[in-house]
């Protein structure tokens, strides 16, 4: 009997202890997209070095904010590390969701001077620009454009375009040029198939149309508020130039987008481009490695930063990595962050398809030639602008989504009315938050 028992019990105990021995693990939350897979791959090295297992929960973009912000508001312990959107930094800091990292950075020789200043400002600091850090810049990103280089290179299209518009068909330098090119391709038959101009952001549910329309508004010189009088938005956010940009975006939607592109964001834009429907797609840099790799059947993709108009500017994307203050494993999470901040790991991160914000990587002489979209990324990161990063950013985002969608897609009212109403909504939010 003893023998029989030992035969069964020994493996059971062995399994039990081996599981306990490997009990050190961390859970990291992020959106489900290509860079997340790259990070999962990269993190195997962390596990190999430290023995700490990494678990990942990647949530689709459509429910990413809902899922993660619910988790933080409920003080959940699911995540030890969170790669949250740049706009969450205010809420993360003010409501105590994120651990303040200044002491940890000082103790471990991590300097924010080693990271791209625009990314530090956008992803790490609260109040904005102050030396209070709640995240380490993890994934630099901005809204940019991909185009069908193979179509652009066709001599017959080049000459037709030049005779029509008087300049070469190529990377558009302004939004006006972008519009000319989009309309040039709209409804055009290429290789026996009808093609369209551009797949632009029009999504209603989360942040899509706001991210898209602000790419135009920033290029027209829009500011959210009076730089000398915070939260005073009248005449800035609803300036004549800002309204003109919104009108222009509607014109792009009306004249250049494929039929049915009325609720489209990242995936829908990618689909429209990959299926050969459109000449241009608006999207985040994060997707360009995948788009470039998947070029086949004669498709050749080119990439460029957001075109200028009155000024040069681009919509900021990207995220910083934060330690969740409700985690019981903050020490392990900080260990991961220390590892992730290392220049050699940052280089591997870029090599795998992540967008490092480390100056050693971005400043390396090989960087620009390391990928076809690298120069565009560098250009964009120098001109990025972000949406409000206030703790109430969701309350600020929702009316903008509704009003802009109502005007751009639905054609209701005018651009000026939409912007005026957004300011009214925002003032109400700021008043409730005690900011006005």
């Amino acid at each position: 009997m003893k023998k029989i028992l030992s035969v069964f019990l020994v493996p059971v105990f062995a399994l039990f202890f081996s599981l306990n021995a490997k009990a050190e693990s961390l859970t990291l939350g992020w959106a489900a997209w290509d860079p997340a897979n790259a990070l999962q791959e990269l993190s195997k090295e962390f596990t190999a070095e430290t023995g700490i297992d990494m678990n990942f929960e990647f949530v689709p973009w459509t429910s990413f904010a809902d899922r993660m912000l619910n988790e933080l508001n409920n003080q959940g312990k699911t995540f030890d590390l969170l790669i949250g959107d740049s706009q969450w930094i205010g809420a993360g800091a003010v409501y105590g969701h994120y651990v303040k990292l200044n002491d940890f950075f000082d103790a471990n020789g991590i300097s924010m001077d080693d990271f791209n200043p625009a990314t530090v400002y956008a992803y790490s600091t609260w109040p904005k620009g102050s030396p209070n850090y709640y995240a380490l810049p993890a994934m630099g990103d901005a809204l940019a454009w991909a185009y069908r280089k193979d179509w652009f290179n066709r001599p017959e299209l080049q000459s037709e375009f030049k005779s029509k518009h008087g300049y070469d068909l190529g990377v558009p330098k302004t939004w006006d040029e972008l519009y000319d090119m989009c309309t040039f391709f709209q409804g055009r038959e290429i290789d026996g198939v009808v093609r369209y101009g551009a797949a632009i952001n029009t999504e209603r549910g989360s942040e899509g149309i706001t991210m898209g329309v602000t790419a135009a508004m920033y290029a027209w010189g829009m500011e959210y508020e009076d730089p000398n009088n915070p939260y005073s938005m009248d005449g800035y956010f609803n300036s004549a130039a800002a309204a003109e940009a919104v009108e222009f975006y509607r014109k792009m939607y009306e004249d250049c987008s494929p039929p049915g592109h009325s609720d489209a964001y990242m995936v829908a834009n990618l689909d429209a481009y990959k299926s050969g429907q459109v000449a241009f797609q608006m999207n985040w840099y994060a997707f360009w490695p995948g788009v470039y790799k998947e070029d086949s059947d004669g498709r050749e993709s080119g990439f460029f930063a957001n075109p200028c108009q009155n000024v040069c500017a681009a919509t900021l994307g990207g995220q910083g990595i934060s330690v969740v203050s409700y985690s019981d494993k903050q020490d392990l999470a900080l260990e991961y962050m220390k590892w992730f901040a290392r220049p050699d790991i940052q280089q591997k991160w870029w090599d795998l398809g992540g967008y490092s914000c480390h100056m050693d990587v971005l400043g390396s002489p090989d960087f620009v030639d390391s990928a076809v979209y690298a120069q565009g990324f560098l250009d964009s990161m120098g001109i990025v602008k972000d949406f409000w990063q206030e703790p109430t950013f969701v309350e600020l985002m929702l009316p903008m989504q509704e009003r802009i969608h109502d005007y751009v897609v639905n054609g209701k009212g005018s651009a000026q009315e939409a912007l005026d109403k957004i300011i009214e909504d925002w003032e109400e939010v700021f008043e409730a938050d005690g900011k006005i």
Binding site: A65, D66, L69, N70, N73, Q75, A91, Y95, G96, E203, R204, G205, P258, P259, G260, H261, S262, D263, Q277, V394, E395, L398, E402, R403, H405, D406, Y407, V409, N410, G411, K412
Partner: protein, 300 residues
């Protein structure tokens, strides 16, 4: 054991009834009544569930006044009313028609019934995604079928503020008409044959038989089905979110979608509790009136 039986035997009928009812009552109190009372309490405060550490303040009827005075809320209510009314009308007419058809005996009757019932067994999320593709102006079947009968050209059901409210009505009708049909079918099958035999002896026409026998007999069933559908559609959320996310703009933003955005995206807990109470009272009020009318019809 014997003493237990003895003890049990000693209990009055009322006590035994309480023993059976109590677990249900506790569950009902815990998961229905308590949250309702809590929500009512919250509706008088300025509570934000995401603002940790900020004590909610009592604001009296401020939230209610704000909601009832807000033009946008009335717009959402109108959108909801449009959706509820049209889905009920269409589901009543088509559901009753199908039930009358399937009440006849013919070959393949059972197979056809099963096929018709299939949509309501699907998940609303799946139906939403599936219809998004059907409505796609480039590759969707819907445009193709409509243009087959009359050439409207390319039209975007989900991207037009005129068509989008109808697009959600169509999908809900497609999905839930089988439910109305099933209930009506149960009603039709409960009508005894001798009533029709007697009517035929009296030389009543088919139309007269329908008006004087079929319709009065099936009406309580139909009204019950419409009550269920009305309550469900007043709270409709998932299907519409999948189809339009409330867009274009706010053309299909039903009251429940707006409530979710206020409660779990903006985290205006006090305000959204007040809105939830208003919606609850509306449904409860309408439901009560409706049940009274239904009972009167039944008693006739």
């Amino acid at each position: 054991m014997k003493s237990a039986v003895k003890k049990f035997k000693g209990l009055s009928d009322k006590a035994i009834a309480w023993i059976f009812i109590t677990p249900t009552l506790i569950l009902l109190l815990a998961i229905n009544i308590y949250p309702l009372v809590y929500a009512i309490r919250m509706s008088f405060t300025n509570f934000y569930a995401n603002k940790i550490g900020r004590e909610p303040k009592f604001v009296g009827l401020k939230n209610y006044k704000k909601i009832l005075g807000k033009e946008e809320i009335w717009e959402k209510m109108q959108i909801t009313a449009h959706f509820v009314c049209w889905t009920l009308v269409l589901q009543a007419l088509i559901g009753l028609g199908l039930a009358l058809l399937l009440n006849k005996k013919f070959k393949g009757n059972e197979l056809l019934t099963t096929l018709i019932v299939l949509p309501m067994m699907l998940s609303p999320a799946v139906v939403g995604v599936f219809w998004t593709y059907l409505y796609n102006p480039q590759v969707g079947l819907f445009n193709y079928v409509v243009n087959f009968f009359y050439d409207f050209g390319v039209f975007d059901m989900l991207g037009s503020s005129t068509l989008a409210p109808w697009s959600i009505v169509i999908v809900d009708t497609w999905m839930w008409t089988p439910f109305t049909m099933l209930i009506c079918l149960a009603g039709l099958r409960s009508i005894p044959n001798y009533m029709y035999e007697a009517a035929e002896v009296d030389r009543a026409s088919k139309w007269q038989q329908f008006i004087h026998i079929t319709l009065p007999s099936v009406l309580p069933f139909l009204l019950l089905a419409l009550l269920f559908r009305g309550i469900e559609n007043f709270k409709m959320f998932d299907l519409v979110v999948e189809l339009t996310s409330g867009g274009p703009g706010s053309a299909t933003e039903l009251a429940s979608i707006n409530l979710k955005r206020e409660a779990f995206e903006k985290w205006k807990t006090g305000y959204s509790s007040a809105f939830a109470v208003i919606l609850f009272v509306t449904i409860f009020g309408f439901g009560n009136v409706y049940v009274k009318v239904m009972n009167k019809i039944k008693d006739r």
